[in-house]
Symmetry: D2
Subunit: 359 residues, 4 copies
């Protein structure tokens, strides 16, 4: 239940305010040169305290790989890892011990398990995504060696939105601003919006776009494990995600087939089959076409407000709470590396699975 993937798998553990977040990455082929600093770089992109628009919780989030790597190369053995929790202030959370925060997992966990580690959301905290970053970065490094690159970026915050067409933007500029929007002008507007929302003690949602380049044709399994089904599952498993679409997505379903079909053609330079347009988002019949895969993930506004909120206690009595934890006014910029990580794990898993497709 805490595992992801079929061949390349992550099994994660850890609560927000426990000793550590960690996991086991299994099914890692032997022979991948791993650069720990690249894992750490992705963790740094995820961690709080990066800028004024993220939570001020200060965690250095240093990853320790405990197994599976020898002389900088994977051995085929599982990679166990931990990231210790450091800046833990459980005291902040005493206030929520007996109340259910609106749109949090407090109530549902209580019903499901009859017991709840209420400190910082416990297992329901987005801090759990630390483990995904580690596994995802391992997958990303393996994919790099196969010529596959994965980028994610903030494409909307509130009503400020980029075009759906990712080819208009320079993906090298994603980290040029704290919002992780590849268009610097739009980024400024987004940042202002987040600041303003934060000043109100409120939060705001947005959309992350993902783009995967260099995927060979043939990945994905035809029926239940279509590539888009695996990506959807991966993305909807991220905290606060509310929707997923790929290619022309929801917009495309208002159109006619004659407008949406992607004509095949032969690439003049390479002689390979490709398509004139890419409304399909790089996947047909659940299987990668060899063209760019692109998709969008919707994130709701963070549920924790810096306001007094009405709710009820465990006993059903009305209550008013104000949570003074250090929370993000907008989760989207920090979700960007998590989207990349989940995409990387998904693609690498399908790539390994595809090795058994032919005798």
């Amino acid at each position: 239940m805490n595992s992801f993937g079929r061949i390349f798998t992550l099994t994660s553990f850890g609560e927000s305010h426990g000793a550590a977040i960690g996991g086991v990455v299994d099914g890692v082929p032997a022979g991948i040169a791993l650069d720990i600093s690249r894992i750490q770089h992705q963790l740094n992109r995820r961690r709080p305290g990066q800028s004024s628009i993220t939570s001020s919780r200060d965690e250095s989030d240093l990853v320790e790989l405990l197994s599976g790597v020898y002389d900088g190369v994977t051995t085929g053995a599982p990679i166990g890892f931990i990231v210790k929790n450091q800046d833990v202030r459980s005291i902040d959370y005493e206030v929520i011990k007996n109340v259910y925060r609106p749109s949090h997992a407090d109530y549902t966990y209580d019903v499901k398990y009859g017991i709840r580690d209420y400190r910082g959301g416990g297992r329901a905290s987005a801090r759990e995504t630390v483990a995904r970053i580690v596994a995802g970065s391992i997958a990303q490094q393996a994919l790099s060696g196969c010529g596959i690159t994965i980028h994610a970026y903030t494409s909307s915050i509130g009503n400020i939105a980029l075009s759906r067409d990712y080819t208009r933007y320079d993906l090298n500029k994603i980290d040029s601003n704290p919002v992780r929007c590849p268009d610097p002008e739009t980024a400024k507007a987004m940042e202002s919006l987040i600041d303003s929302v934060k000043a109100d003690g409120d939060t705001i949602g947005g959309i992350v776009t993902g783009v995967i380049k260099g995927v060979p044709a043939g990945l994905g399994e035809p029926v239940f494990d279509k590539l888009q089904a695996r990506l959807a599952s991966a993305m909807l498993s991220i905290n606060a995600a509310k929707g997923f679409e790929y290619g022309m997505g929801f917009d495309g379903c208002a159109n006619r087939g004659s407008e949406m079909n992607d004509a095949f053609t032969t690439d003049r330079a390479t002689g390979k089959v490709t398509t004139v347009t890419n409304n399909s988002g790089g996947i047909q019949g659940g299987i990668s076409v060899g063209t760019d895969i692109y998709f969008r993930v919707a994130f709701k506004p963070v549920a924790t407000l810096q306001q007094v909120v009405e709710t009820i206690t465990k006993d059903g009595e009305p209550a008013a709470i104000q949570v003074n934890g250090r929370h993000d006014p907008c989760v989207v910029p920090r979700a960007v590396p998590v989207v990349e990580a989940m995409a990387a794990m998904t693609i690498f898993d399908m790539l390994l699975l595809n090795r058994a497709a032919r005798i």
Copy 2:
């Protein structure tokens, strides 16, 4: 790769123009009274030839249960079933033997497997969803016994759309028209649109809304198997699906937390915890709240047009084809029971898995 679910599972087989579509439903608890006529009813809702707006391919699609049921009650043994293919005209497909139809799986299957059963799309055909209907109906009957009901309906065709608020519609009217739209006036407009598109030899996409009532609080697994992740995976595995969202979905991410949060309250009648609003779509932290679960699935326009289409052959040479198969101008009305089936399998699987949540 052709299996879905963890406890309650479907493993399906069969090509569009082979001997039969079939499958094995495993993990079925003993003691469920099964009414085969209800399975057949769902198959009938899915089958082509129902009306002028669907494919004229005529398949009676009779299900045969081969095991796992004794005296009308499940025994705990796997339920094997087949639905024979009857109206098979492979001759229609000779024309596509050596060409790649745009936005179909022809090319990707060829690359993946090096071999392709080109008759009617083979395994990539939406005829494969017959197996899902059978398994889904078994799940639906089990869920009925637990007070859980599942409805899906057409909520948009092209640019004709219902409100996102499903509570405005009478779900008993879904089957009152061939479009499966619970609003009869809108249904007429949708039907006209489909007829007009069909007259052009073209196709059109749309959206299906799903509503699940009566789900107890506590279903779903916290991290990778969040209830929404399972539903997303289920829905994106359906042919032609391009997107999934639940609760306020993509629209909700433009809003503020103070607008989107669902305040808890105590239901006056039952004394149970519930929420004042339901922007969350009945799921918080990946776990069901006990309120209605609702979601939307986007379907692209069918790729097969009744027009001459430009494409390339297997050898990369330009080609023009016209496919005279009997195809749907709009897949959405027939996708409605498939969405129900996938939702039922997902919810029942999670319900069984949840039995191990507490000692």
Copy 3:
């Protein structure tokens, strides 16, 4: 729960006296040339009525492949199949409707499921192994193409036993007698013993030896999925199996390390690494060495006797029953192809899984 394998999988269904036994073989790579007559040949080796020493139940056991094969070659799609049940005399079983046969699954099924298809043992019948034969033969054909051969034979019946050293016997003689013992003299003695036991209305157990040649070094996963663990699980899942050992097995554990260790050497002919002795049974550290894999499986005497047997009813009352079904006095000869099938599925699955071992 009715699936076997990880990449190459069989999901089986069907009861002894239902409509059919069948299954889905999934994860079959595309491009395997399949000869149905070889599948049928293995089914014929398993079926009852072959000789005086097996059950006289007469089943032609004709396999129908319903999908996944096109022009005699696998397509990568799942292979659905059925074998119809023909000679069904449910009337024989009315006598056991309300009693628990000793050492059968009657009681345990009743407790587990609260309902039981009592006709012929239902799902607990060894007739279920029909599905294994089909899947196993598909695996065997794929393995043949990789130079891997699998033989099983009867190595003991009652106290009549061959030497553990399989290299003393000519594996081409296995089918030269109804007992499937490669030593014709011993086979005669075994046959006499079975005849004599049958005349007493009694049954007798025995041992099947399996030998797998041509397995490349490197198959098997180091920890929980060691090759021997997978083989053990495969063999102990066969009806009536009571034990599994490989290499020197139980006998070897009475010895010293200096006697049991297999010295490495270089094969003069091939220049490849091999071992001087093979006490390890071709597996070290859970991974194939490249030498012959050999193992033994113990089968208990069939529980159904042609005698009056004392037992109790469902209500706990004493009862005496005589079952006049047509049962085998010794299951071992018919278990031989089942052991081959399970070994083939196991090895082929690990071979496919091993493709992901290195980048």
Copy 4:
């Protein structure tokens, strides 16, 4: 590939001479009171340096639980844990860097992965069983609460053997001697034999018997996941295990059905169904009967001798090595808690899975 179980699962990691051995125990129901000292007690029973007959490698093997437990009770979240490696002398192993030790995993790992962490066997070391002890002890504590107890003991060393009939021995005396044999007289003889073998620089094998009491009727899945198949897989996954049998096992297959069948009867005291004899070993048709489950596991002599051994190098050249690691002359006494752990995980997993057997 490094995971065990279906609902209650262990995913383990760690090499003999890496930073730590650890794992994630997932699928743990909420509400189990966990006593860490009982986990530590089992680790102490497994660790080296306990007596003159075990390896002198000194490891305190302290377990750290990193998640999933709050106020001494499981929360339903995964339990991550590590046991740090302390007494690591990698220098001992330089001698084997380029040679293949006979009957070790050196060669097979090299072939499989193309890279090998040669220090202390790396992932192939029996030190990996530390993780199993932790997970097994968690399962054992959960099972205790259900009235299920698990005992394992040494039943033979070399040719010194107890009777197969476990009821003759007092299971409370297992830990009264370093051999873990419940018969003190036999234990002395076993200890002498091990000492004598050790003095020769040699090693010796043996058998562990397992006894599980209090298992309710109904556990196990009918076909591929028969309870005995799961137990066999669990046991054969332990380092050095060569065979598994349950009930009358290999011996029983020389007998007649009339001798082996277990007559049903009604227990006078409880009114419950039971059997007069228990040759079946507590399992019929793959499902627990409610009577004692018992089985035996064969362990080969440890492959590492304190002698000069002839072998070959990676390049195929002859070589003579003497390994001065601190190795056990007999692994059997330390395997006893590992057998208990694997049995506990298996039974608890099946117990949780069985909750979905009926509606």
